[in-house]
Amino acid sequence: MIDATDVFKAFQPHRGDAIVTTSGTVGSHWANVSTKPNRDLRLGSSMGQTVSAAFGVALGLPEEQMVLFDSEGALLMNLGALASIAGKAPKNFYHFLLDNEMYATTGGQPVPNAANIDYAGLAKSVGYASTHHFTDLEELVTSIGEIMKEEGPVFISIKINPEVQNLPMALRERSGGRSRIETIRNFQKEFGIASV
């Protein structure tokens, strides 16, 4: 098991100019590691749909590397998206899955069949160009640079330590940071895309 923050720190030196978005509770840690916030996007708002929005960005900007740090609870809510992505096969799409085997944001209940799902195997069987699975930080650190040179869609499943939240939503500390629309407007300015 690996801490999510260590995953982000391992990825950061190999980011280049990639666009990055995240889903799930631990995704918020990325903002503390990123050095290119105008290339970071917040896309989520509906259950399990960040993966599809990231897929749309990848299709719309095929010359840019699109990186998604997904979570297994979110992916299970939209598992067909794997087939949709494999079908269009965007070469610029890098799909990391941070798998803590639970819904950490709702108190740590296990996702269905939590410990027994081979997500990288799923991605491979639907047609991702390349898949990887990591449980060890050192292996991830030594591999991630080469993975970012691969042709997508690439799927990287990583077992991470859970960060369980038990407080009712109203009592939780707000993570702060930019709103979704702020990240989108900053992003579009960075890429010279006219806001519609």
């Binding site: 749909q49 299709l59 939209n78 949709s84």
Partner: protein, 172 residues
């Protein structure tokens, strides 16, 4: 017979409206009524067809395309539109982008009464979400499609075009 043929919405008309309004991508799940339309779209080299596995993926994929500066349309059926409720809420209504959704109106009849419950719930569903919509039955209604595009652009909201007869004229 000639008169009857004139009173349908031809798939070519819909594609012409897409081109006129600068559509770049169609995010879609083909349904039983739209195969010829699908074939025409795939043959259109200016249009990128993005097949998805479930309708909830359509508004979110479209949001990503919008963020990237593209002009997507969602092409789904009313059954799938209801499945996509949370995605329409979070990825379209709350997102602040224009989005045209072309929705096959399964079960629709001019008589009003229909045994198909999906038709009974289609317009109440749109009313509940506060989504404006236009009914398009034949080529004569095609101007409503551009009108819907314009409303989506001016309000930065999703707007629905309900295809009342799904391109064949059988439902009347």
């Amino acid at each position: 017979m000639v008169q009857q043929q004139a009173e349908i919405l031809r798939p070519e008309t819909l594609i012409s409206e897409f081109k006129k309004n600068g559509v770049t991508h169609v995010v879609t799940i083909p349904d039983s009524e739209t195969n010829y339309l699908y074939e025409l779209m795939v043959k259109s080299d200016w249009l990128d067809v993005v097949p998805v596995s479930r309708e909830g993926e359509a508004p979110s994929t479209a949001l990503g395309l919008n963020v990237a500066g593209q002009t997507p349309v969602c092409l789904i059926q009313n059954t799938g539109m209801m499945e996509a409720g949370d995605s329409i809420r979070g990825m379209a209504l709350d997102a602040g982008f224009p989005l045209l959704m072309v929705v096959g109106y399964r079960g629709w009849t001019r008589r009003g009464a229909t045994p198909d419950t999906v038709a009974r719930y289609t317009e109440p569903f749109l009313h509940a979400l506060g989504i404006e919509y236009f009914l398009v039955e034949t080529d004569n209604d095609s101007a409503r499609i551009s009108e819907a595009f314009e409303l989506a652009r001016s309000t930065k909201r999703p707007v629905v075009v309900l295809i009342g007869d799904e391109y064949h004229g059988f439902n009347r």
